[in-house]
Amino acid sequence: MNMKARTNAISWSFIAIAVIMICAFYFYPMIQALIMSFQSGTGTNLSFVGIDNYTRLFTDTTFKTTLSNTFLYLVIQVPLMIVLALFISVLLNDKNLKLKGFFRTAIFLPAVTSLVAYSVIFKYLFGTDGLINTMLMKLSLIAAPIQWITDPFWAKITIIIAITWRWTGYNMIFYLSALQNIDDSIYEAARIDGANSFTQFFKITVPLLKPIILFTSITSTIGTLQLFDEVMNITKGGPGNSTMTLSQYIYNLSFKYTPDFGYAATVSYAIVILIVIFSILQFKLAGDKNG
């Protein structure tokens, strides 16, 4: 073996470990799940049913409800969070701001909390006799306690508030680091040309942050489509199934009801398809012009 072949062999052997691991623990289960999505039955009594599971999706009212719930979170929560994160990061990037480190840490801190732990705390905060209701009542803003958890409308609001609280800081960090890469001289030139901070934000900051905005909106979209912990712990999908997400439906199909792993796999592939479609859409809408 000459020197080059030997180096090659060694490099490949290093890569091989990762490749084998990924194949064994990612691709193999993915293919198995795809095969399983064409099967149906209870527990271990699975049999092939062709595309029955996929046609069942279109008549399944629970699937439709969970899909529309997930979309609602997507349409309201993701833009809200992105705008909020952008706004906060611009504020925190201000040169004249004191205690910058403190504010940054404070806003990022929710992102390091455990999903389950914060969900449980939110559940108690937003309970009928919880802190939020007590506070609003003491301030005489509301006359009767709001049913944050048990009313279909308010339960959705509670979930949106919770995930916004948890994930805004996480997205903010991306914007902050991107903002630091924007050269000050650009802003200086703009100021000399007479642009106010409003114009600066929309004409300089936003266009320059576009790749990051695209990145965060894709990761947030994927995150929302996979939303599970918060809903499971705060409302259990209720009242009824008015806050239930796709992921929770998969959980119910596999573990709460008599297990139908085949159909559960089909629903999870529906999520995969949705994620692919959304990512392509977002690339097309935002990314194309930048190349």
Partner: protein, 431 residues
Amino acid sequence: MKKIIVLLLASILILSACGTKTDNGNAGAGEGAAETSKITIWAWDPNFNIKAMNLAKDAYAAKNPDLTVEIIENAQNDIVQKLNTGLSSGTTKGLPNIVLIEDYRAQSFLQAYPDAFYPLTDVIKASEFADYKIGPTSVDGKNYGLPFDSGVTGLYVRTDYLEQAGYSIEDMQDITWDQYIEIGKAVKEKTGKDWISLDPNDMGILRVMAQSAGSWYLKPDGKSADLEGNVALKEAFETYKKMMDANIVRIHADWSQYVANYNSGDVASVPTGNWFTPSITAAADQSGKWAVAPLPKLTNNEKSVHASNLGGSSWYVLNVPGKEKAAEFLGATFGSDVDLYQKLVTEVGAIGTYKPAAAGEAYKAANEFFGGQKIVEDFAKWTAEIPNVNYGMHTYAIEDIIVVEMQNFLNGKSIDQVLADAQKQADAQIK
């Protein structure tokens, strides 16, 4: 360059050697645990079924000191999840010998994983247990489960609030749900206290009402939904709405709020399973203020009786090494030990479903918290009256549909439409 590579390779070798060594150590320990002189048991409530199992363990150890029994606490959801993943993957390693399964879910496991459970037909006499427990725990005439606690229901009620409203506990005997609501309105008017606490996500009260009339979400075959045209369920729906409309209901979202509503004295009555007794008696300051009345029955249903069931679970032996020992252990304890059942009542507050045990002393004891009422005797009497229904495989799947349709019903949709829609969804889902 070469030297560095050699050094690297050598260090990797040494590291992996260390790794293998520790692996071997672990595997050795694992094999030791698999020996049949030890059985493991999973249950979920340290104050209830785990405590009960510990009593059984002590009773068995007195006669058979050789068997090591390890009881492991897992949340019920975790047990369900671990069983599902373990059994469907085909590897039984890591699963226990004995597991506690809720009766509503039992058929789902027994039928979804045939051969995963060990029949107990030879170990227990099915006729010695409450009739209604045998259906959920057996398949094709074979008993797979050892019936454990009774979920027999009663109506817990605050006698002091009743008196303030001009009623007494005698007025609560053998009433209908309509009468129950009328009394509730009077109590709310006089005392300002709510009458009942309900969770909009938990239709337990509907199940209780339906079973009291010998009806269920599923037809007796346990496989197809029985919603449209189910008269018992229809009346249960209407009764639920009457309660909501009467403004006597306090809403809770989880177990701790539920118990708190009663312990704080804000709510005056609770129709539920007897396993709720420890939660009621937890408020020591309310001693003497509670009584237990028979469950109200459906007003317009002739088949409805004053007894029903909510929850309750049974022990199952998994078809893994050690199954004979495990079955023998269950047979010698919960399967035949009358004394153990007396201890269950006095020390745990659990009422079993083993009929011969009801003749014991502990069942006749008066409970001072409930004004000297012999509540265990009453519950044992009602247990025998519970109509037998087949819980089938899909109770929780249908419950989720019912929860949604109940909201539609409360918002004004007609009852026949509600049940027809629920039937359609259920048929699509549980084929």
